[in-house]
């Protein structure tokens, strides 16, 4: 077989590409594998241009700080915590991508778990505050 995505990840992308809520998807290694058009508007960059990115690359491009403007390290951000804890995470944060404008967001992330309990990745939604 080729290096196919799991059906859970494929369906998550298909859902994300069909809704107006900004959505970002990562795989179980926290590699960024997709964000939809509404998320492109927040990140000010198109997925077709950036493509998939390893964890180190996208977490350095995406700068995150808390409401007191303290930096949030990658392992404390929602996606990092979801993958480590395999549980949903929801919090406020400020975010900017590649030196763009700061956005004040509420981010909710949750794990994508298969029938046998295997972790396929995580999905997060972004809500402008």
């Amino acid at each position: 077989m080729t290096d196919a995505k799991s059906i859970q990840i494929i369906l998550a992308r298909q859902l994300a590409s069909s809704i107006a809520t900004p959505v970002l998807l990562v795989d179980a290694q926290n590699a960024l594998i997709y964000y939809n058009e509404p998320a492109e508007a927040i990140f000010n960059q198109r997925f077709d241009e950036t493509g998939e990115m390893p964890a180190a690359e996208w977490t350095s491009r995406f700068t995150a700080v808390d409401d007191d403007r303290n930096p949030i390290p990658p392992n404390e951000r929602p996606m990092g915590r979801v993958l480590a804890e395999c549980a949903p995470v929801s919090r406020n944060m400020w975010m900017r991508v590649s030196g763009g404008d700061w956005r004040h967001l509420h981010v909710t992330a949750f794990p994508l778990v298969g029938e046998k309990g295997q972790l396929f990745g995580a999905m997060s939604i972004f809500w402008a505050i």
């Binding site: 196919a4 799991s6 298909q14």
Partner: protein, 280 residues
Amino acid sequence: MNVTLWGTRGSLATPGAETARYGGNTSCVGVIGRDGTVLVLDAGTGIRGLGKTIATTVRRVDILLTHLHMDHIQGLGFFAPLFRPDLEVHIWGPVSSHISLRERLMRYLSPPLFPVSLRELPCMITLHEVPCGEVAIGEFRVSSALVCHPGPTVGYRIVDPQGGVLAYLPDHEPALGSTAFPSLPLAWTSGAGLAAGADLLIHDSQYSAEEYPRHVGWGHSSFKDALAFATLSGAKHLVPFHHDPSHTDIDIDRLMKEAMALITPACRVTTALEGATFQI
């Protein structure tokens, strides 16, 4: 390997003069290896006929279920080899998060739906839940993956020692929710990993392009999408399968012609016909 179509119909067995050529039995495909390995893909009503051809010298049969919808298991209790005490039968079927494969199969194979309980069958039955990575079954290497269809459903990829590949995805809707189908990369298309480069791809083609929009989310493909999927996955020979019960032989001929006019497939196409045999 030798591949025989014992049931090509989807959803409901449809006997009668109007379906006599493509066949009225529901999904079942027999695969025989050069060393005699016997695989049975799905246990629709077509499995009854297949059962009659299995020699008494065969000691093991593997039944690979894609899912447990009725049209894929209804023939199981009528598979005569299950009543042979000397036969080892391995049944492979999709995992569910809460209910075991045995428990789900017993919902059908137990009274009042069927007079004989699974545990009362004389043969030696072993159940396996899939997907479980690549496994060796006789001379074949078999892999499976969940695909887009309501409820846990897998497709199978069967590779023989010579490298011949059969891909079997009888119930599959790769276009569901994918605004970009079929132009997304292979890795992002349901089932494409199973079908990649297959010598023979047996694939769902239940609807016409005109019917499909009224059945989005039902888990099936149009002829047109089956052709597009075959092209995307690089299959060499497509067998459109799982015909809609409302389609007569004449309808199927017409729908196939219409689909071929919309998409020129990059591979050979042979519409599934009950009794047809393919060599890989």
